[in-house]
Symmetry: C2
Subunit: 227 residues, 2 copies
DNA sequence: ACAAAAGTGTTAAGCCTACACCCATGC
DNA sequence: GCATGGGTGTAGGCTTAACACTTTTGT
């Protein structure tokens, strides 16, 4: 077996929706290379550790969440020979979707971690270290695409949510407004997308809204439509 | 940098449509582990070689094709610590779609390479070495899904093709019959999916059919519908 | 009462499905 | 002529997009 010298890492695109905007968790690098630049959280895979285990461990370290219930999926692997000046490092990127956390981001590296508007970062391709701009772009595009045909948007929501909160997720991720009335009808009519919790809330103002939780559907027929 | 001992490889899911059926290129392993078992073609990434370069090199070796014009895309990365009995090997899987080759499969390893019905292999989860059953399943599912919303089906066709040949691709990959008349209308009306070549052929029998080549579209609006 | 947000009804346009039907070739 | 596949037309059902309208709360 030719085991050439090689580092294996995972990088995380951790997304949330806060204040109606799509935000990504970035850390400011305290050590070279790219010292002082923003980067995606990530770290090396330990011996005998599965890739997804690494990603969940990093996620827990960065967000302070026990990452059991967080949606996490692999996006792509980046392995250009010169992508890391320290040597050959191949990175497997994961996408994590978290609800708007009531608790602040806390963890060992948290002093330098913050939520940043994803669109702002995507508007400036030079702001991130390494090839993290490309990784972020791929992760966001994955999220945007999956909202169409999967019930993934609920991963951004707390366990119980209103239809308009769910709509807020779509509007933030896609960056466009949706008709509240047609959205409501479509979501509630798609089988097993959401299920009524039987309770209501007035936290969004106006008439009390029914609360829902995730349904059992894994794909949406018909899909949600973007613009 | 902690460069633990680690192998990095790529494995290829090479698909084609022959005789109206979806087929995958497999090799019979001549050496342990899994000697004598079927496996996906693949090999180790060389020092300073990009991942996709490795995949294209393997593709050329296995199919004898100069792989420039072949559709190739990354699917996922598999890194369970025990997936290879020889040690820690992480594999990046690629999906390749090739036209029905007039030339036989030829190459250094070709003596043991053959086209096998994908559905047959997917019916028996124990036939492939390593975790290649999972990789194949993921690759085929990717292909099936992408036919819906991308013009990817043309990657299975020669440079010029008829609408019914294109329909044959859909029917083989999805494993279900489609209405020839509605399919024809939909394909030719979707902007930039296919463009008329201006010539006709009678190679499929019956009335001469127009020949087309790929259009410039990258996504299909509206998508093709499965079942 | 008024503002605000939830939720329902309606209508016109577009898309999909199914199938009848005609066209152009080889034999 | 007849078989074979290519290609067009059309009617009914379903989905969507746009928006009028009613409901239920907080202030």
């Amino acid at each position: 077996m030719d085991f050439e010298p090689l580092g294996l890492a995972t990088d995380l695109v951790i997304l949330t929706v806060r204040d109606g905007r799509l935000q990504v968790l970035l850390i400011r690098r305290g050590i070279p290379p790219y010292r002082g630049r923003w980067a995606l959280p990530g770290g090396f895979v330990r011996p005998n550790e599965d890739l997804e285990t690494t990603a969940r461990r990093e996620l827990a370290e960065e967000t302070g969440l026990s990452a059991e219930r967080i949606h996490l999926e692999q996006v792509a692997t980046y392995g250009a020979p010169d992508r890391d000046p320290r040597g050959r490092v191949v990175s497997v990127a994961y996408l994590a979707l978290v609800p708007d956390l009531p608790a602040p981001v806390a963890g060992s590296d948290a002093a330098s971690a913050s939520w940043v508007d994803a669109t702002d970062v995507l508007d400036d391709s030079g702001r991130l270290a390494f090839d993290h701009y490309r990784i972020l772009a791929d992760g966001v595009e994955r999220a945007r695409a999956k909202l169409e045909y999967s019930p993934l948007a609920t991963a951004f929501c707390p366990p119980e949510f209103t239809i308009s909160e769910l709509r807020g997720v779509y509007e933030a991720v896609w960056g466009l407004p949706l008709d509240p009335r047609n959205f409501h009808r479509k979501v509630t009519k798609t089988p097993d997308f959401v299920e009524p919790a039987g309770t209501t809330t007035t936290r969004d103002g106006g008439r009390p809204a029914q609360l829902f939780h995730r349904g059992t559907a894994t794909t949406l027929h018909p899909p949600m439509t973007r613009g």
